[in-house]
């Protein structure tokens, strides 16, 4: 099928399948999936600028479907989502400025590659340790009782003592989030969102791989709500990114619409599946995702090829 905006010939079935896989991951983990979608579009022969912009447009659609489904399941904290969107947009702009500075210094590729590898590996290692420890603790606690293992949708964390300490910082204004059962300083929420946005602007993509864990470990949001709220927040920030890329001529909306037909069904399945897993199990399953991102960057660094 010929797509006249990007001047590319791409098999629509390939686009639908890629969309489905990314939708499934997004619905289950609350991530945009750009670390897979970008290389997958590039692999189909689409120029990098179109791959990045079109991927963002498709992320908007996929996140609408998954967030709508999560909202029906009671997994979206709208107040938190709106506040985080503000911090994310500001952080994304700062990240883009940082990229421009590094471009002028002439070492953008090396710095971004090293930083992204360090971030991806740190997230995976930390989440592996934490979710493993939480599951082991739950198992040993329940060994002597009749309550059984962690049930679907239940949540606890081995990092809870740090989260509780952060929540004790009373820097006004304090924001009450009844949907998440948390009261926390507005500045901490904005800081978490800003760092997520900074990673998004600096490393590319939606940076759900850093925002979803941050919401759980720093803000103390239950995992299911963090997944749903992150998706809701991605709708706002990715729409902003799509507009910004579209006016620069980097969005082929026809490709995004085709990809989204697969993503719509994948996102629904992913969102529904979260109901059958406890929070620590979702976090443990999340561990390979940043590793895939790290592997792609390492491959690009050592071979010079862009996937």
């Amino acid at each position: 099928m010929f797509f006249p905006i990007s001047q590319a010939h791409v098999n629509p079935i390939y686009l639908v399948v890629v969309g489905f896989v990314i939708g499934l991951l997004g619905g289950f983990f609350g991530v945009g999936g750009s670390f897979i979608a970008g290389p997958a579009l590039r692999l189909a022969g689409i120029d990098w600028n179109f791959a990045v912009g079109t991927d963002l447009a498709h992320i908007v659609g996929k996140s609408v479907v998954a967030a709508k489904r999560h909202r029906a399941l009671g997994n979206v904290d709208l107040r938190l989502g709106f506040i985080m969107a503000l911090g994310t947009i500001a952080g994304a702009e700062a990240g883009a400025q940082l990229i421009q500075m590094l471009k002028r210094a002439g070492n953008v590729n090396f710095v971004v590659s090293v930083v992204s590898i360090v971030i991806y590996l740190s997230i995976s290692t930390f989440m592996l340790w934490e979710s493993w420890k939480t599951l082991a603790r739950a198992k040993s606690r329940n060994a002597g009782s009749k309550s059984g293992p962690l049930r679907a949708k239940s949540d606890e964390s081995a990092f809870q003592h740090v989260t509780t300490a952060i929540q004790r910082w009373r820097i006004p204004p304090m924001i009450s989030l009844p949907a998440s059962g948390v009261t926390i300083s507005l500045w901490i929420i904005l800081l978490v969102a800003f760092v997520g946005g900074l990673c998004s602007g600096f490393l590319g993509g939606g940076a759900g791989y850093i925002r979803m864990p941050s919401m759980v470990y720093i803000l103390g949001i239950p995992t299911h709500l963090a997944v749903g709220t992150d998706l809701f927040e991605i709708i706002i920030s990715a729409s902003y990114g799509t507009f910004s890329h579209a006016i620069k001529g980097n969005v082929d909306i026809l490709i995004a619409l085709v990809m989204h037909t697969g993503a719509a069904i994948g996102a629904q399945l992913g969102a529904i599946s979260t109901q059958y897993f406890a929070g620590p199990k979702i976090r443990l399953a999340f561990v390979p995702l940043p590793l895939i991102g790290a592997a792609i960057v390492i491959y690009t660094m050592f071979t010079g090829h862009k996937l």
């Binding site: 905006i5 609408v64 995004a256």
Partner: protein, 85 residues
């Protein structure tokens, strides 16, 4: 796995397979009916009014998301006898 769970999984998989077939049919119709007619207009918009194109692109993807979500939810409900999941 208990026989009851097996029956439940089998029923879910059958409903999902049927849903995929129906959904694939709808998507093929969508490709030919909508993208064919919209293609030329969007290319023109992208070359002549890039800001309008940017807004239309966002509205189109959100609109499609809302419609497809309703379609898949409706199909799931229909195939599972009134339950959404």
């Amino acid at each position: 796995m208990s026989p009851r769970s097996k029956t439940e999984v089998r029923r879910t998989l059958r409903a999902f397979a049927l849903e995929l077939v129906l959904y694939a049919g709808l998507v093929v119709v969508y490709f030919f009916a909508v993208l064919h007619f919209l293609g030329g207009w969007l290319v023109q918009l992208e070359t002549q009014h890039i800001r309008v194109y940017a807004v239309v692109a966002i509205l189109l993807i959100i609109g499609q998301a809302v419609v497809l979500e309703s379609v898949t939810t409706g199909l799931l409900r229909l195939l599972r006898g009134g339950r959404s999941e």
